[in-house]
Amino acid sequence: MRFVVRRLMLFVVALFGMSILVFAALRVLPGDVASVMAGMNATPQQIARLRAQLGLDRSLGRQYVDWLASLLHGDLGTSVLTGRSVGSQVGSRSSVTFPLILAAMAVAMALGIPLGCEAVLARSPHVRALLHAASIVAGSIPALWGGLLLIMLFSRGSGLVGILPSQGFPQDGWHDVLSCLASLALPALTLGIIVGSGLMRYTRSSLGGLVSSGFIDMAMACGMTRRRAVIRVGLRLAAPQLVSVIGLTFAQMITGAMVVENLFALPGLGAGLIADVGNRDLIAVQSQLFMLVAFFLAMGFLVDILHRALDPRLGKEGER
């Protein structure tokens, strides 16, 4: 319990620190944000109005406190370009990105964990070596290229087996679930294969260390086959680390997600954020970056707690 409280405090402090960092990063712009945003032909009056609108005429400290206060009220601010609230934009973009990430994670786990087990358990040393090599190569493919290869293979229209859409997402969101899933299929597969290869390597190496250990011997001596012992006992023993890795992979997946969303023209958080950065939409970028940071810090927090919960030994050896 003490660990949870300490970890929670760390989370809050880190969140606070990162909010300052994000805020500062967007204020050290060389030159005036407002004049950049307003464009080359803007009159001084227009620029001044924009400055006021952005709150840039106030002191930095004031701006920061205002921003933080509105964040605490759940208000992410208003996009200067579209006039829409950033919150609602994030909401609609999330409805693409989160299903994408979840589907990719499902693909990754469905591929990575069983294949990782197989890379340890397969009887033939050739199969084991082949699976290991496949995991290394798949993990070395840039997300962009992986996506391109899948488009070449499966894209409706131009692919070899043209069965899936490769561009865009239904305009009206999740009304037509099937077509939504279809448009997420290739992106999720791209991301899932790449992330899955990492998971596979990790599963393989952690089980490989366990497979000739006394724990597996013991489970086998009790009457399990090697396969069952590795899957039941080995995976359970590797679970705390595996969960940490999956959690951190989840976080690292956002890079791939951004690439994949751009490639497949999905209106998700990643593509949206990149577009906002390109448009220099100050408030939107600032709030979204902070939300992302908060999300990943929360992820790290949860993973640490879960790791603890899965490993009863850790709690009893005292705090680290």
Binding site: W145, L273, I274, L292, F296
Partner: protein, 293 residues
């Protein structure tokens, strides 16, 4: 030290996949150096009449959307990627060593603060770090290097910490500290050598990841700016035309995948080669040199 490096490299070379990775890596460095003086075509040479051309004698790998020679761009790009990798490895090593040193410092204040910083920041992905840098400063090679160095430096610190702690608590160090040897000296002679193998493995894996990061960030418009050759740049420019010219993306993607595979294989083999338990040659060297840990 040099002896150890040679022994490790020789153990890597002894296996087929090790030869593959060392060959690819040497080839990469050689091509990078050559590209500084010579490419088949100047990379600024464009030919509006022959865009997206397929391979020919003049353009072995074809031309890109501007009619420039793909092979020349890839060669020039290998230099930029090498630069990014070397800089990332160097800076993340420096950051990692600094953080590890702080984490095992005798000052409780310093060690707990650094542990907290690493624990908190480790979950922030490279692309978010890159955005925080790129939004104010714009796309540049430096963005890739800074974001990757911070991310991988933190990771390095986290991975190497247990070994450093083990070394810091060894009887060797305790007795050295008791006899008045300064902390920095202990760090340099006892603790840092203990984490060199782990660092070598992590850094070679990070090298591969930084190439992948370069291609991703460049595609997103926050990495290598347009006009500067890099593998990620070559891949990105062909991405938008995949439906029309599907094979344009083949070469840059292949180059990245092969080089990153080589780095990952190298890292994996390094893990075995630097482990005195697995590699008896190293063990012999250690005992002969008389520095047992």
């Amino acid at each position: 030290m040099m002896d150890g490096v040679m022994i490790v490299l020789r153990s890597v070379w002894r296996r087929a996949e090790g030869r593959f990775s060392l060959t690819v890596l040497c080839l990469w460095v050689a091509v990078s150096v050559v590209s500084l003086f010579w490419t088949p075509q100047p990379i600024t040479n464009t030919d509006g009449y022959h865009v997206w051309a397929s391979g020919s004698l003049r353009h072995p790998l074809g031309t890109d959307g501007a009619g420039a020679d793909v092979l020349s761009w890839l060669m020039a790009g290998s230099y930029v990627d090498l630069l990014i990798v070397v800089a990332t490895v160097a800076f993340s090593a420096i950051l990692g060593v600094a953080l590890v040193s702080a984490m095992v410092a005798r000052s409780v204040m310093l060690s707990s603060v650094s542990v907290v910083v690493v624990d908190a920041l480790i979950s922030i992905p490279t692309v978010v770090l890159a955005l925080i840098v790129a939004v104010p400063l714009g796309a540049s090679i430096a963005v890739v290097i800074v974001a990757c160095s911070i991310g991988y430096g933190l990771n390095l610190a986290r991975v190497a910490r247990p070994q450093a702690l083990l070394a810091a608590r060894s009887e060797y160090v305790v007795s050295a500290a008791a006899s008045g040897v300064t902390g920095l000296r202990i760090l340099a002679t006892h603790i840092l050598p203990a984490i060199v193998p782990t660092m070598a493995v992590q850094l070679s894996l990070s090298a591969g990841t930084s190439i992948l990061a370069e291609s991703g960030l460049t595609y997103l418009g926050i990495g290598v700016p347009s006009g500067v050759p890099s593998w990620g740049h070559s891949l990105s420019t062909s991405a938008s035309f995949v439906n029309v010219y599907p094979f344009a993306a083949l070469w840059p993607g292949l180059v990245i995948t092969v080089v990153v595979t080589a780095l990952n294989v190298f890292g994996d083999m390094l893990r075995d080669a630097v482990d005195p338990v697995v590699n008896p040659r190293l063990r012999r060297d250690r005992t002969r040199a008389g520095r047992r840990s």
